[in-house]
């Protein structure tokens, strides 16, 4: 039965990674912008949630959407002020700019909130485990799976079925033609960026309980986001989703079954997968 517990923990961890990273795959894959500061938005969401719950006494489930909005708002403002000037620049410029932002975010948070780990007060009923036919199901992790699952479906629908989704895809494929057709490319990009940042913020809020939260969060988890996006490829949502699940399960199972190799399993998986499919699991070989 332990196998199922491990599988469950792995799925929950993978789902969490997906919500944290999928915003990055949207900006990187669809908008072709390398945003290494993605984790800073996750951290912002995490801290927003912690402050709302611990200090203002808001219920956890009310704080989650607010964490999304807070990170989205910060994303929107920064996109309008800073990011949009770098859309046309080389990837190196974008990397240098965003990594600078990460360091600023880390220092600002350290100054403002202190460098110690903060603990979010989640409701009592989410704290324990339930036993389903001998399989230990953590309530909090179950909630993560439900929320993230619904989110994934919604995301897929938005991109594939809505007017906004098709506008976004058009704006990405050929910004000039899309502009000519009356699509406000600027606006589409700003909203997409804000949405991606919001998702990161939601991931940070959900993850605070499991991953811990301190000002070094964006640096600590940058590598995980990048692994998800590079293994999953950036042209779809399904790619990063399956990659997250695979990596989450692999990471948890690796730590359980071969604790001596511990954290190395996730890197080994990445190397093998990338040797096999250099453009990611679902990457098109003819990507831009």
């Amino acid at each position: 039965m332990t196998v199922l517990t491990i599988l469950f923990d792995g799925v929950a961890y993978g789902m969490l990674l997906f919500v944290l990273a999928c915003g990055l795959s949207v900006t990187m894959g669809l908008m072709n912008f390398v945003n290494l500061a993605h984790g800073a938005f996750a951290m912002a969401g995490g801290y927003a949630c912690v402050i709302l719950v611990n200090k203002s006494g808001l219920p956890f489930f009310a704080a989650l959407p607010l964490a999304f909005l807070a990170a989205a708002l910060i994303g929107f403002v920064l996109e309008r002020l800073l990011y949009r000037h770098l859309y046309g620049r080389t990837h190196l410029d974008q990397v240098l700019f965003t990594i600078g932002l990460v360091f600023m975010a880390v220092t600002a948070m350290d100054y403002w909130m202190g460098s110690q780990q903060v603990f979010i007060q989640i409701p009592e009923y989410l704290r324990s485990q339930i036993d389903v036919f001998g399989v230990g199901i953590g309530r909090y992790r179950l909630m993560i799976i439900v929320i993230c699952g619904l989110l994934t479906i919604a995301l897929q629908l938005i991109l594939a079925k809505t007017r906004f989704g098709s506008r976004l895809r058009a704006a990405v494929d050929d910004a000039r033609a899309a502009n000519g057709l009356g699509i406000n490319v600027n606006q589409v990009f700003a909203l997409t960026f804000a949405f991606g940042s919001g998702l990161a913020g939601l991931g940070g809020a959900l993850g605070a309980e499991i991953l811990g939260l301190d000002p070094y969060f964006p640096l600590k988890f940058m590598i995980y986001f990048l692994i998800v996006v590079s293994v999953g490829g950036t042209s779809t949502i399904t790619g990063p989703f399956l990659a997250s699940l695979l990596l989450g399960i692999g990471d948890v199972a690796g730590k359980y079954y071969v604790p001596k190799l511990g954290a190395f399993v996730i890197y080994a998986m990445m190397i093998v997968l990338l040797l096999w499919r250099p453009n990611g699991l679902f990457g098109r070989s003819a990507a831009r």
Partner: protein, 373 residues
């Protein structure tokens, strides 16, 4: 031209290198606070010399520590370097202490080997073998037969594991699971699950102060609090600094450690009250390491009559003994390491707050890591 060096000798400069930012910042803040408190209580002049502390933040990165120590010794001409939040930082500065013959007072780092790296190092914190051996002995004597071990995979963790294992297995106990988790480990879940499945009587846990809270949360999330599996370990997991944030999950954890804010001596009550009044929170073991470190420097200066060269100071420090807020302590004249009591404590609630309440005393204990040699 001749008066300049004479004037310079009026001041004894201490270069304090501690992490004030980053994950270990609470260590640096506690030490800095405690030193300031001591200097307020005892004045800033000893044996006719004015004491000046120059605080530098190394963020617990050894590269920084080395550079800052160099600057302090060469440019600021400090007489003593002190602090050192983590083992790699203490080790990075050791060759400089030897070369410049400047005493290095280690106030936090806890790996056994540190004091062997320079004849100018003296330590006022603790070593992990001191507490890990005591809890190992205590566990076998108190009906704990099977233990699963989880330690962070770095020098202090390895020290803690080795010392615990030797004493626990030596006493007839059995270690059923042994896990070293990466230091930057985001999720304890799979490791905890493995420990749970090995069905031990107790878990021996060492993670650096700061990760303890996260560990205990996941301990409860996994339902381990309902299995009757006890948590034991050296006291870092339940640092006074964090204990209250950990919530009731921490109740009942039994640890061996050198200091608790609830230590029932008059000296400690006075210390805790003064610290709480000055800084609004209670002191942890790092604060005591700093408080005793500055005391050691003051007393050594008194003994040398204000002579502040490295050889005189270190000679004066050897064998020095005094009553600290943690109890009686002394500096071993051979190893320059601290000799002290180790207390077994249990987390209990008092006046709505969580405390490590001491119930057994072992000691005085020299660092077992060195006795072996």
């Amino acid at each position: 031209m001749f008066s300049a060096p004479a004037l310079a000798q009026e001041t004894v400069k201490i270069g304090l290198i501690v992490p004030m930012t980053g994950g270990q910042a609470s260590t640096g803040k506690q030490i800095d606070n405690a030193i300031k408190l001591y200097m307020q209580q005892n004045g800033a002049t000893v044996a006719g010399k004015k004491i000046e502390v120059i605080l530098k933040d190394d963020a617990a990165l050894p590269d920084n520590t080395k550079r800052l120590a160099q600057e302090l010794i060469v440019n600021d001409k400090v007489n003593i370097i002190a602090g050192f939040g983590v083992t790699p930082a203490a080790l990075a500065a050791a060759p400089l202490a030897t070369q410049a013959k400047v005493p290095q007072i280690v106030m936090a780092a806890g790996t056994s080997i540190i004091t062997e790296k320079s004849p100018y190092i003296a330590r006022t914190s603790f070593t992990l073998p001191q507490s890990a051996t005591v809890i190992g002995d205590w566990a076998v004597k108190n009906g704990i037969q099977k233990v699963a071990v989880l330690v962070s995979d770095y020098a202090p963790g390895v020290d803690a594991l080795a010392s615990f294992k030797e004493h626990f297995e030596g006493g007839g106990g059995k270690i059923v699971e042994e896990i070293k988790v990466p230091l930057a480990n985001p999720d304890f879940a799979p490791f905890l699950q493995r420990m749970k499945d090995s069905k031990p009587d107790a878990m021996f846990v060492f993670v650096p102060a700061g990760q303890g809270g996260n560990f205990m949360k996941q301990f409860v999330e996994r339902g381990l609090d309902k299995t009757g599996i006890k948590v034991i370990g050296p006291g870092d997991v339940v640092d006074d600094d964090l204990l209250n944030n950990m919530g009731d999950a921490a109740l009942g954890i039994v640890t061996a450690h050198i200091y608790s804010a609830a230590h029932p001596s008059a000296k400690n009550k006075e210390f805790v009250a003064a610290y709480e009044k000055a800084y609004g929170n209670r002191p942890g073991f790092m604060a005591v390491g700093g408080y005793d470190g500055i005391h050691l420097i003051y007393e050594a200066l008194k003994k040398t009559g204000g002579k502040a060269d490295g050889d005189s100071l270190i000679a004066a420090m050897k064998g020095m003994a005094w009553e600290s807020p943690r109890g009686p302590i002394s500096i071993d004249p051979e190893t320059r390491d601290i000799v002290q009591n180790v207390y077994i404590r249990k987390v209990e609630k008092r006046d709505g707050q969580l405390y490590n309440v001491e119930f057994a005393t072992f000691g005085p204990i020299k660092d077992p890591g060195k006795i072996k040699k």
